[in-house]
Amino acid sequence: MSVVECVEVVRRFGDVTALDGVSFQVAEGEIFGLIGPNGAGKTTLLNCVEGLDRPTSGRISVLGRHPIADRHELTRLTGVQLQSAALPPRITVAEAMRLFSALYDDPVPWPELLTTLGIAGKQRTRVERLSGGERQRVFIALALLHEPKVVFLDELTTALDPQARLAMWEVVEAVRGRGTTVVLTTHYMEEAEHLCDRVGIIDHGRLIALDTVPALIRAHAGDATARLVLTQPAPAELAPELKRIDTVTAAQPDGKYLTVQGTGGFLQDVLTDLTTRNIRIADLRATSPGLEDVFLNLTGRHMRTEVQS
Protein backbone atom coordinates (compact mmCIF):
# COMPACT_ATOMS: atom_id res chain seq x y z
CA MET A 1 0.00 0.00 0.00
CA SER A 2 1.27 3.49 -0.78
CA VAL A 3 1.75 5.80 2.14
CA VAL A 4 0.49 8.74 0.11
CA GLU A 5 -1.51 8.54 -3.07
CA CYS A 6 -2.65 11.51 -5.14
CA VAL A 7 -4.83 11.01 -8.20
CA GLU A 8 -5.49 13.90 -10.59
CA VAL A 9 -5.47 16.46 -7.80
CA VAL A 10 -6.68 19.90 -8.90
CA ARG A 11 -6.84 22.97 -6.67
CA ARG A 12 -8.18 26.26 -8.00
CA PHE A 13 -8.33 29.58 -6.18
CA GLY A 14 -10.81 31.57 -8.26
CA ASP A 15 -9.26 31.84 -11.71
CA VAL A 16 -5.86 30.65 -10.55
CA THR A 17 -5.08 26.98 -10.93
CA ALA A 18 -2.58 26.20 -8.20
CA LEU A 19 -2.55 22.44 -8.81
CA ASP A 20 -3.36 21.06 -12.22
CA GLY A 21 -3.95 17.30 -12.21
CA VAL A 22 -1.16 16.07 -9.93
CA SER A 23 -0.82 12.29 -9.52
CA PHE A 24 1.88 10.40 -7.63
CA GLN A 25 2.43 7.74 -4.99
CA VAL A 26 4.86 7.62 -2.09
CA ALA A 27 6.11 4.21 -0.99
CA GLU A 28 6.71 3.16 2.59
CA GLY A 29 10.13 4.03 3.96
CA GLU A 30 11.26 6.37 1.22
CA ILE A 31 12.30 10.00 1.29
CA PHE A 32 10.13 11.61 -1.33
CA GLY A 33 10.90 15.14 -2.45
CA LEU A 34 8.67 17.69 -4.15
CA ILE A 35 10.82 20.31 -5.81
CA GLY A 36 10.03 23.38 -7.81
CA PRO A 37 10.37 27.16 -7.67
CA ASN A 38 8.58 29.27 -5.07
CA GLY A 39 4.90 29.48 -5.96
CA ALA A 40 4.95 26.26 -8.01
CA GLY A 41 2.26 24.69 -5.83
CA LYS A 42 4.33 22.57 -3.45
CA THR A 43 2.83 23.96 -0.26
CA THR A 44 -0.71 23.90 -1.70
CA LEU A 45 -0.20 20.22 -2.48
CA LEU A 46 1.11 19.47 1.01
CA ASN A 47 -1.77 21.41 2.58
CA CYS A 48 -4.21 19.20 0.66
CA VAL A 49 -2.35 16.05 1.71
CA GLU A 50 -2.32 17.22 5.35
CA GLY A 51 -6.05 17.94 5.28
CA LEU A 52 -5.62 21.69 5.80
CA ASP A 53 -7.03 22.40 2.35
CA ARG A 54 -9.54 20.61 0.14
CA PRO A 55 -8.71 19.90 -3.50
CA THR A 56 -11.17 21.25 -6.08
CA SER A 57 -11.18 17.79 -7.63
CA GLY A 58 -9.15 14.59 -7.54
CA ARG A 59 -8.51 12.07 -4.82
CA ILE A 60 -5.91 11.93 -2.05
CA SER A 61 -5.33 9.13 0.41
CA VAL A 62 -2.81 9.04 3.24
CA LEU A 63 -2.16 5.60 4.75
CA GLY A 64 -5.39 4.53 3.07
CA ARG A 65 -7.41 7.26 4.77
CA HIS A 66 -9.05 10.49 3.65
CA PRO A 67 -7.10 13.61 4.73
CA ILE A 68 -10.18 15.56 5.83
CA ALA A 69 -12.82 12.93 6.70
CA ASP A 70 -10.28 10.90 8.71
CA ARG A 71 -8.34 13.90 9.95
CA HIS A 72 -8.53 13.01 13.60
CA GLU A 73 -7.26 9.49 13.06
CA LEU A 74 -4.49 10.78 10.79
CA THR A 75 -3.24 13.27 13.39
CA ARG A 76 -1.98 10.24 15.34
CA LEU A 77 -0.32 8.64 12.32
CA THR A 78 1.26 11.61 10.58
CA GLY A 79 3.73 14.27 11.70
CA VAL A 80 3.71 17.71 10.18
CA GLN A 81 6.25 20.50 10.05
CA LEU A 82 4.67 23.58 8.50
CA GLN A 83 6.46 26.27 6.55
CA SER A 84 5.12 28.96 8.87
CA ALA A 85 4.48 27.25 12.16
CA ALA A 86 3.94 28.88 15.51
CA LEU A 87 3.16 28.13 19.11
CA PRO A 88 1.37 30.12 21.78
CA PRO A 89 3.78 33.02 22.36
CA ARG A 90 6.28 33.27 25.23
CA ILE A 91 6.47 29.56 26.10
CA THR A 92 9.74 27.68 26.50
CA VAL A 93 10.94 24.69 24.52
CA ALA A 94 10.24 22.35 27.46
CA GLU A 95 6.74 23.79 27.90
CA ALA A 96 6.01 23.28 24.21
CA MET A 97 7.24 19.68 24.39
CA ARG A 98 5.16 18.99 27.51
CA LEU A 99 2.05 20.51 25.91
CA PHE A 100 2.30 18.46 22.74
CA SER A 101 3.23 15.31 24.67
CA ALA A 102 -0.03 15.68 26.61
CA LEU A 103 -2.01 15.75 23.36
CA TYR A 104 -0.84 12.27 22.28
CA ASP A 105 -1.57 8.95 23.95
CA ASP A 106 1.88 7.43 23.88
CA PRO A 107 4.57 10.01 23.11
CA VAL A 108 8.28 9.22 23.06
CA PRO A 109 10.29 10.79 25.92
CA TRP A 110 10.85 14.31 24.62
CA PRO A 111 14.18 15.06 26.37
CA GLU A 112 15.77 12.22 24.36
CA LEU A 113 14.25 13.60 21.20
CA LEU A 114 15.77 17.02 21.89
CA THR A 115 19.14 15.37 22.47
CA THR A 116 18.90 13.55 19.13
CA LEU A 117 18.09 16.84 17.46
CA GLY A 118 20.95 18.63 19.21
CA ILE A 119 18.87 21.16 21.16
CA ALA A 120 18.85 19.53 24.60
CA GLY A 121 20.49 22.62 26.10
CA LYS A 122 17.67 24.90 24.96
CA GLN A 123 14.87 23.49 27.14
CA ARG A 124 14.44 26.63 29.21
CA THR A 125 14.70 29.04 26.29
CA ARG A 126 11.58 30.61 24.90
CA VAL A 127 10.85 29.27 21.45
CA GLU A 128 10.75 32.73 19.81
CA ARG A 129 14.25 33.50 21.12
CA LEU A 130 15.84 30.52 19.37
CA SER A 131 17.76 30.84 16.13
CA GLY A 132 16.01 29.83 12.92
CA GLY A 133 17.69 26.43 12.86
CA GLU A 134 16.96 25.70 16.51
CA ARG A 135 13.32 26.69 16.14
CA GLN A 136 13.04 24.48 13.06
CA ARG A 137 14.34 21.58 15.13
CA VAL A 138 11.76 22.22 17.84
CA PHE A 139 9.01 21.92 15.24
CA ILE A 140 10.57 18.73 13.93
CA ALA A 141 10.65 17.36 17.46
CA LEU A 142 6.95 18.24 17.79
CA ALA A 143 6.26 16.42 14.53
CA LEU A 144 8.06 13.28 15.74
CA LEU A 145 6.76 13.04 19.33
CA HIS A 146 4.15 10.41 18.53
CA GLU A 147 6.39 8.31 16.24
CA PRO A 148 4.33 8.95 13.12
CA LYS A 149 4.39 6.57 10.17
CA VAL A 150 4.92 9.48 7.79
CA VAL A 151 6.23 13.02 8.28
CA PHE A 152 5.61 15.99 6.02
CA LEU A 153 8.39 18.56 6.04
CA ASP A 154 7.63 21.79 4.19
CA GLU A 155 10.65 23.88 3.15
CA LEU A 156 12.61 22.34 5.98
CA THR A 157 15.87 24.20 5.47
CA THR A 158 14.81 27.46 3.85
CA ALA A 159 15.67 29.69 6.82
CA LEU A 160 18.89 27.85 7.66
CA ASP A 161 22.54 28.66 7.11
CA PRO A 162 24.54 26.06 5.16
CA GLN A 163 25.94 24.41 8.27
CA ALA A 164 22.54 24.04 9.90
CA ARG A 165 21.23 22.71 6.60
CA LEU A 166 23.78 19.89 6.59
CA ALA A 167 22.85 19.05 10.18
CA MET A 168 19.18 18.99 9.20
CA TRP A 169 19.90 16.54 6.38
CA GLU A 170 21.41 14.17 8.93
CA VAL A 171 18.29 14.52 11.07
CA VAL A 172 16.04 13.64 8.13
CA GLU A 173 18.14 10.61 7.31
CA ALA A 174 17.99 9.50 10.94
CA VAL A 175 14.19 9.85 10.90
CA ARG A 176 13.98 7.65 7.85
CA GLY A 177 16.40 5.25 9.50
CA ARG A 178 13.75 4.66 12.16
CA GLY A 179 11.34 3.51 9.48
CA THR A 180 9.38 6.73 9.04
CA THR A 181 8.39 7.71 5.52
CA VAL A 182 9.43 11.28 4.72
CA VAL A 183 7.71 13.62 2.28
CA LEU A 184 9.49 16.95 1.93
CA THR A 185 9.38 20.02 -0.25
CA THR A 186 12.38 22.12 -1.14
CA HIS A 187 13.57 24.56 -3.72
CA TYR A 188 17.20 23.63 -3.14
CA MET A 189 18.31 21.19 -5.83
CA GLU A 190 21.33 20.03 -3.80
CA GLU A 191 18.99 19.13 -0.98
CA ALA A 192 16.82 16.96 -3.22
CA GLU A 193 19.89 15.37 -4.85
CA HIS A 194 21.43 14.60 -1.48
CA LEU A 195 18.37 13.40 0.43
CA CYS A 196 15.61 12.11 -1.79
CA ASP A 197 15.11 8.60 -3.10
CA ARG A 198 12.61 9.94 -5.58
CA VAL A 199 11.84 13.44 -6.69
CA GLY A 200 8.73 14.97 -8.23
CA ILE A 201 9.29 18.23 -10.07
CA ILE A 202 6.41 20.70 -9.85
CA ASP A 203 6.11 23.74 -12.07
CA HIS A 204 3.02 25.95 -12.47
CA GLY A 205 0.95 23.41 -10.54
CA ARG A 206 1.85 20.48 -12.77
CA LEU A 207 4.01 17.49 -11.91
CA ILE A 208 6.33 17.58 -14.92
CA ALA A 209 8.69 14.74 -13.95
CA LEU A 210 8.89 12.05 -11.31
CA ASP A 211 11.69 9.55 -10.76
CA THR A 212 14.90 8.84 -8.88
CA VAL A 213 17.51 11.58 -9.18
CA PRO A 214 19.91 9.52 -11.38
CA ALA A 215 17.05 8.47 -13.68
CA LEU A 216 15.83 12.06 -14.02
CA ILE A 217 19.32 13.22 -14.92
CA ARG A 218 19.78 10.40 -17.44
CA ALA A 219 16.45 11.12 -19.09
CA HIS A 220 16.46 14.90 -19.07
CA ALA A 221 20.02 16.13 -18.63
CA GLY A 222 22.41 13.55 -20.01
CA ASP A 223 24.84 16.19 -21.13
CA ALA A 224 27.48 18.10 -19.29
CA THR A 225 26.79 21.74 -18.56
CA ALA A 226 29.00 24.81 -18.76
CA ARG A 227 27.89 27.99 -17.04
CA LEU A 228 29.63 31.03 -18.44
CA VAL A 229 29.58 34.62 -17.31
CA LEU A 230 30.30 37.01 -20.15
CA THR A 231 31.75 40.47 -19.77
CA GLN A 232 28.67 41.87 -21.49
CA PRO A 233 25.18 40.57 -22.40
CA ALA A 234 25.18 37.98 -25.16
CA PRO A 235 23.99 39.21 -28.57
CA ALA A 236 20.61 37.82 -29.61
CA GLU A 237 21.97 35.67 -32.42
CA LEU A 238 24.50 33.90 -30.17
CA ALA A 239 22.29 31.06 -28.88
CA PRO A 240 21.03 29.89 -32.32
CA GLU A 241 24.57 30.11 -33.70
CA LEU A 242 26.01 28.04 -30.82
CA LYS A 243 23.33 25.41 -31.25
CA ARG A 244 24.60 24.86 -34.79
CA ILE A 245 27.81 23.40 -33.37
CA ASP A 246 27.54 19.60 -33.57
CA THR A 247 28.58 18.87 -30.01
CA VAL A 248 26.27 21.51 -28.44
CA THR A 249 22.79 20.33 -27.45
CA ALA A 250 21.45 23.40 -25.71
CA ALA A 251 22.37 27.06 -25.29
CA GLN A 252 20.45 29.34 -22.96
CA PRO A 253 21.50 32.98 -22.64
CA ASP A 254 20.25 35.09 -19.75
CA GLY A 255 21.75 38.56 -19.88
CA LYS A 256 25.44 38.17 -19.14
CA TYR A 257 24.94 34.53 -18.18
CA LEU A 258 25.14 31.75 -20.68
CA THR A 259 24.40 28.10 -20.01
CA VAL A 260 25.57 25.66 -22.63
CA GLN A 261 25.11 21.90 -22.66
CA GLY A 262 26.72 19.36 -24.90
CA THR A 263 28.77 16.26 -25.27
CA GLY A 264 32.39 15.40 -25.93
CA GLY A 265 34.59 18.41 -26.56
CA PHE A 266 31.69 20.88 -26.74
CA LEU A 267 33.29 23.26 -24.30
CA GLN A 268 36.36 23.76 -26.47
CA ASP A 269 34.16 24.30 -29.53
CA VAL A 270 32.10 26.89 -27.68
CA LEU A 271 35.16 28.74 -26.43
CA THR A 272 36.65 28.78 -29.93
CA ASP A 273 33.40 30.16 -31.30
CA LEU A 274 33.20 32.85 -28.64
CA THR A 275 36.82 33.83 -29.34
CA THR A 276 36.14 34.34 -33.05
CA ARG A 277 33.20 36.58 -32.08
CA ASN A 278 35.45 38.49 -29.73
CA ILE A 279 33.15 37.75 -26.79
CA ARG A 280 35.14 37.69 -23.57
CA ILE A 281 34.45 35.42 -20.60
CA ALA A 282 34.53 36.65 -17.00
CA ASP A 283 33.89 33.29 -15.35
CA LEU A 284 33.38 29.69 -16.35
CA ARG A 285 32.22 26.61 -14.50
CA ALA A 286 31.70 23.23 -16.03
CA THR A 287 29.63 20.66 -14.17
CA SER A 288 28.30 17.22 -14.68
CA PRO A 289 24.52 17.43 -14.94
CA GLY A 290 22.26 17.71 -11.88
CA LEU A 291 18.64 18.37 -11.05
CA GLU A 292 19.09 22.04 -11.86
CA ASP A 293 19.77 21.01 -15.45
CA VAL A 294 16.80 18.68 -15.44
CA PHE A 295 14.60 21.60 -14.46
CA LEU A 296 16.21 23.85 -17.03
CA ASN A 297 15.70 21.33 -19.80
CA LEU A 298 12.11 20.63 -18.84
CA THR A 299 11.00 24.23 -18.42
CA GLY A 300 13.56 26.35 -20.24
CA ARG A 301 14.02 28.31 -17.01
CA HIS A 302 16.40 28.31 -14.07
CA MET A 303 15.15 27.36 -10.63
CA ARG A 304 16.66 30.55 -9.22
CA THR A 305 17.95 29.12 -5.99
CA GLU A 306 19.06 31.76 -3.52
CA VAL A 307 22.28 29.85 -2.89
CA GLN A 308 24.47 29.17 -5.88
CA SER A 309 25.76 25.64 -5.97
Binding site: T75, L82, P89, E95
Partner: protein
Protein backbone atom coordinates in the same frame (compact mmCIF):
# COMPACT_ATOMS: atom_id res chain seq x y z
CA UNK B 1 -8.47 15.77 30.17
CA UNK B 2 -4.67 15.56 30.03
CA UNK B 3 -4.76 17.81 26.97
CA UNK B 4 -7.13 20.30 28.62
CA UNK B 5 -4.91 20.61 31.68
CA UNK B 6 -1.73 21.00 29.67
CA UNK B 7 -3.25 23.53 27.30
CA UNK B 8 -4.80 25.57 30.12
CA UNK B 9 -1.44 25.73 31.91
CA UNK B 10 0.38 26.68 28.72
CA UNK B 11 -2.10 29.38 27.67
CA UNK B 12 -2.12 30.81 31.19
CA UNK B 13 1.68 31.06 31.20
CA UNK B 14 1.65 32.53 27.73
CA UNK B 15 -0.79 35.27 28.77
CA UNK B 16 0.71 36.07 32.17
CA UNK B 17 4.13 36.61 30.58
CA UNK B 18 2.73 39.38 28.42
CA UNK B 19 3.05 42.43 30.67
CA UNK B 20 0.63 44.76 28.84
CA UNK B 21 -2.23 42.28 28.62
CA UNK B 22 -1.71 41.14 32.19
CA UNK B 23 -1.67 44.73 33.39
CA UNK B 24 -4.95 45.61 31.69
CA UNK B 25 -6.70 42.40 32.68
CA UNK B 26 -5.65 42.12 36.31
CA UNK B 27 -3.89 45.25 37.60
CA UNK B 28 -5.62 48.11 35.81
CA UNK B 29 -9.00 48.03 37.59
CA UNK B 30 -7.66 47.84 41.17
CA UNK B 31 -5.06 50.52 40.40
CA UNK B 32 -7.76 52.76 38.98
CA UNK B 33 -9.91 52.24 42.08
CA UNK B 34 -6.92 53.32 44.18
CA UNK B 35 -6.10 56.38 42.08
CA UNK B 36 -9.67 57.63 41.71
CA UNK B 37 -10.28 56.82 45.35
CA UNK B 38 -7.28 58.86 46.51
CA UNK B 39 -8.30 61.83 44.34
CA UNK B 40 -12.07 61.94 44.77
CA UNK B 41 -12.90 60.06 47.93
CA UNK B 42 -13.64 62.84 50.39
CA UNK B 43 -16.29 61.32 52.56
CA UNK B 44 -20.07 61.39 52.15
CA UNK B 45 -21.20 63.50 49.22
CA UNK B 46 -24.75 64.70 48.50
CA UNK B 47 -24.08 64.18 44.77
CA UNK B 48 -23.91 60.44 45.43
CA UNK B 49 -26.92 60.24 47.71
CA UNK B 50 -24.86 60.83 50.83
CA UNK B 51 -22.37 58.09 50.03
CA UNK B 52 -18.69 58.53 49.30
CA UNK B 53 -17.37 58.49 45.74
CA UNK B 54 -15.93 55.02 46.05
CA UNK B 55 -19.03 53.64 47.74
CA UNK B 56 -21.12 54.93 44.87
CA UNK B 57 -18.87 53.72 42.06
CA UNK B 58 -17.07 50.61 43.34
CA UNK B 59 -19.62 48.05 42.13
CA UNK B 60 -19.16 49.41 38.61
CA UNK B 61 -15.41 48.90 38.47
CA UNK B 62 -15.48 45.18 37.61
CA UNK B 63 -17.22 46.24 34.40
CA UNK B 64 -13.92 47.84 33.28
CA UNK B 65 -12.40 44.38 33.38
CA UNK B 66 -15.29 43.05 31.32
CA UNK B 67 -14.94 45.76 28.70
CA UNK B 68 -11.17 45.24 28.37
CA UNK B 69 -11.40 41.44 28.33
CA UNK B 70 -14.37 41.15 25.99
CA UNK B 71 -13.64 43.63 23.25
CA UNK B 72 -9.85 43.73 23.41
CA UNK B 73 -7.87 41.01 25.19
CA UNK B 74 -9.86 37.93 24.14
CA UNK B 75 -10.24 38.80 20.43
CA UNK B 76 -6.69 40.15 20.05
CA UNK B 77 -5.20 37.15 21.83
CA UNK B 78 -7.22 34.76 19.75
CA UNK B 79 -6.42 36.53 16.49
CA UNK B 80 -2.73 36.49 17.35
CA UNK B 81 -2.87 32.72 17.84
CA UNK B 82 -4.70 32.36 14.55
CA UNK B 83 -2.53 34.73 12.50
CA UNK B 84 0.75 33.33 13.81
CA UNK B 85 -0.29 29.82 12.78
CA UNK B 86 -0.34 28.44 16.34
CA UNK B 87 -3.97 27.35 15.97
CA UNK B 88 -3.20 25.67 12.67
CA UNK B 89 -0.36 23.72 14.27
CA UNK B 90 -2.58 22.64 17.17
CA UNK B 91 -5.25 21.54 14.72
CA UNK B 92 -2.78 19.00 13.30
CA UNK B 93 -2.71 17.18 16.65
CA UNK B 94 -5.45 14.99 18.17
CA UNK B 95 -6.60 18.02 20.19
CA UNK B 96 -10.40 18.43 19.90
CA UNK B 97 -11.68 21.92 19.03
CA UNK B 98 -13.97 21.85 22.06
CA UNK B 99 -10.97 21.13 24.31
CA UNK B 100 -9.10 24.10 22.92
CA UNK B 101 -12.05 26.44 23.44
CA UNK B 102 -12.66 25.11 26.95
CA UNK B 103 -9.01 25.71 27.90
CA UNK B 104 -8.95 29.18 26.36
CA UNK B 105 -12.21 30.15 28.10
CA UNK B 106 -10.91 28.81 31.42
CA UNK B 107 -7.77 30.91 31.17
CA UNK B 108 -9.58 34.12 30.27
CA UNK B 109 -12.21 33.44 32.93
CA UNK B 110 -9.57 32.99 35.64
CA UNK B 111 -7.72 36.14 34.62
CA UNK B 112 -10.93 38.19 34.33
CA UNK B 113 -12.23 37.05 37.71
CA UNK B 114 -8.88 37.91 39.32
CA UNK B 115 -9.10 41.46 37.95
CA UNK B 116 -12.67 41.96 39.15
CA UNK B 117 -12.03 40.50 42.59
CA UNK B 118 -8.88 42.59 42.97
CA UNK B 119 -10.81 45.80 42.15
CA UNK B 120 -13.53 45.01 44.68
CA UNK B 121 -11.00 43.96 47.31
CA UNK B 122 -9.15 47.28 47.04
CA UNK B 123 -12.39 49.23 47.57
CA UNK B 124 -13.30 47.07 50.50
CA UNK B 125 -9.93 46.75 52.25
CA UNK B 126 -8.33 50.11 51.41
CA UNK B 127 -11.28 52.46 51.22
CA UNK B 128 -13.51 50.73 53.72
CA UNK B 129 -16.53 50.26 51.49
CA UNK B 130 -18.97 48.01 53.31
CA UNK B 131 -18.93 44.52 51.81
CA UNK B 132 -22.17 43.22 50.35
CA UNK B 133 -24.48 40.99 52.39
CA UNK B 134 -24.12 38.23 49.91
CA UNK B 135 -20.61 38.08 48.51
CA UNK B 136 -21.58 34.87 46.70
CA UNK B 137 -24.30 36.70 44.75
CA UNK B 138 -21.90 39.43 43.70
CA UNK B 139 -19.29 36.92 42.55
CA UNK B 140 -21.93 34.92 40.71
CA UNK B 141 -23.06 38.08 38.92
CA UNK B 142 -19.43 38.88 38.07
CA UNK B 143 -19.05 35.39 36.60
CA UNK B 144 -22.29 35.75 34.62
CA UNK B 145 -21.12 39.06 33.14
CA UNK B 146 -17.68 37.69 32.38
CA UNK B 147 -19.06 34.68 30.50
CA UNK B 148 -21.31 37.03 28.49
CA UNK B 149 -18.32 39.17 27.52
CA UNK B 150 -16.11 36.16 26.75
CA UNK B 151 -18.81 35.07 24.29
CA UNK B 152 -18.78 38.60 22.86
CA UNK B 153 -14.97 38.43 22.64
CA UNK B 154 -15.06 35.17 20.69
CA UNK B 155 -17.68 36.62 18.34
CA UNK B 156 -15.52 39.69 17.74
CA UNK B 157 -12.53 37.41 17.08
CA UNK B 158 -14.57 35.94 14.24
CA UNK B 159 -15.53 39.37 12.91
CA UNK B 160 -12.39 41.51 13.26
CA UNK B 161 -10.40 41.31 10.02
CA UNK B 162 -6.97 41.18 11.72
CA UNK B 163 -5.23 41.49 15.07
CA UNK B 164 -4.15 45.01 14.12
CA UNK B 165 -7.72 46.07 13.32
CA UNK B 166 -8.90 44.34 16.49
CA UNK B 167 -6.57 46.50 18.56
CA UNK B 168 -7.79 49.71 16.91
CA UNK B 169 -11.51 48.97 16.92
CA UNK B 170 -11.26 47.25 20.30
CA UNK B 171 -9.67 50.30 21.96
CA UNK B 172 -12.48 52.55 20.75
CA UNK B 173 -15.22 50.13 21.76
CA UNK B 174 -13.54 49.59 25.10
CA UNK B 175 -13.48 53.33 25.89
CA UNK B 176 -17.16 53.71 24.99
CA UNK B 177 -18.05 50.76 27.17
CA UNK B 178 -15.90 52.02 30.05
CA UNK B 179 -17.53 55.45 30.01
CA UNK B 180 -20.95 53.82 29.99
CA UNK B 181 -20.04 51.71 33.01
CA UNK B 182 -20.47 54.54 35.47
CA UNK B 183 -17.13 53.83 37.07
CA UNK B 184 -15.44 57.08 36.09
CA UNK B 185 -18.52 59.26 36.10
CA UNK B 186 -21.63 58.16 37.98
CA UNK B 187 -24.39 57.80 35.40
CA UNK B 188 -26.85 59.81 37.50
CA UNK B 189 -24.69 62.89 37.00
CA UNK B 190 -24.97 62.66 33.22
CA UNK B 191 -27.53 64.54 31.10
CA UNK B 192 -30.80 62.74 30.37
CA UNK B 193 -30.06 62.19 26.69
CA UNK B 194 -26.73 60.55 27.41
CA UNK B 195 -28.34 58.37 30.07
CA UNK B 196 -30.87 57.14 27.49
CA UNK B 197 -28.11 56.13 25.09
CA UNK B 198 -26.26 54.40 27.93
CA UNK B 199 -29.27 52.12 28.37
CA UNK B 200 -28.08 50.25 25.29
CA UNK B 201 -24.67 49.51 26.73
CA UNK B 202 -24.40 45.96 28.07
CA UNK B 203 -21.70 47.14 30.47
CA UNK B 204 -24.16 49.53 32.01
CA UNK B 205 -26.57 46.67 32.72
CA UNK B 206 -23.80 44.64 34.25
CA UNK B 207 -22.91 47.61 36.46
CA UNK B 208 -26.59 47.89 37.49
CA UNK B 209 -26.65 44.22 38.43
CA UNK B 210 -23.48 44.50 40.50
CA UNK B 211 -24.62 47.68 42.21
CA UNK B 212 -28.06 46.23 42.98
CA UNK B 213 -26.68 43.03 44.48
CA UNK B 214 -24.00 44.97 46.37
CA UNK B 215 -26.64 47.13 47.97
CA UNK B 216 -28.65 44.10 48.99
CA UNK B 217 -31.36 43.94 46.31
CA UNK B 218 -32.64 40.49 45.38
CA UNK B 219 -32.09 38.83 42.01
CA UNK B 220 -35.84 39.05 41.33
CA UNK B 221 -35.64 42.86 41.27
CA UNK B 222 -32.80 42.75 38.71
CA UNK B 223 -34.41 40.75 35.95
CA UNK B 224 -33.57 43.28 33.21
CA UNK B 225 -29.77 43.15 33.62
CA UNK B 226 -29.82 39.39 34.23
CA UNK B 227 -31.91 38.99 31.07
CA UNK B 228 -29.56 41.20 29.01
CA UNK B 229 -26.47 39.26 30.12
CA UNK B 230 -28.15 35.86 29.63
CA UNK B 231 -29.28 36.89 26.16
CA UNK B 232 -25.71 37.94 25.38
CA UNK B 233 -24.46 34.50 26.38
CA UNK B 234 -26.97 32.77 24.12
CA UNK B 235 -26.68 35.10 21.11
CA UNK B 236 -22.91 35.57 21.16
CA UNK B 237 -22.37 31.93 22.10
CA UNK B 238 -24.17 30.85 18.95
CA UNK B 239 -22.48 33.53 16.81
CA UNK B 240 -19.03 32.71 18.19
CA UNK B 241 -19.49 29.02 17.42
CA UNK B 242 -20.63 29.80 13.88
CA UNK B 243 -17.78 32.26 13.25
CA UNK B 244 -14.98 30.23 14.85
CA UNK B 245 -12.06 29.64 12.48
CA UNK B 246 -8.75 27.86 12.95
CA UNK B 247 -7.14 29.41 9.95
CA UNK B 248 -6.60 32.76 8.34
CA UNK B 249 -8.68 32.28 5.22
Amino acid sequence: MKGYRALTTTLLRSLLREPVGFFFAVVFAPVLVSILGLIFDSGPDPNFGGRSFIEATLPAFPSLVLAITGVLLVPVGHLNLRESGALRRLRLTPLRPATFIAADLTVNFLIGMSGMIAALAVGWLVFGVAPPDSLASVLLAAALGLVAFLALGYTLAGIYPSAGAATGIGNTLMLLLMISSGAFIPLTTMPDGVQKVMNFSPVRHFADLMRGLWEGAGWSTLLLPVGVLSAMIVVFGVLATALFRWDRS
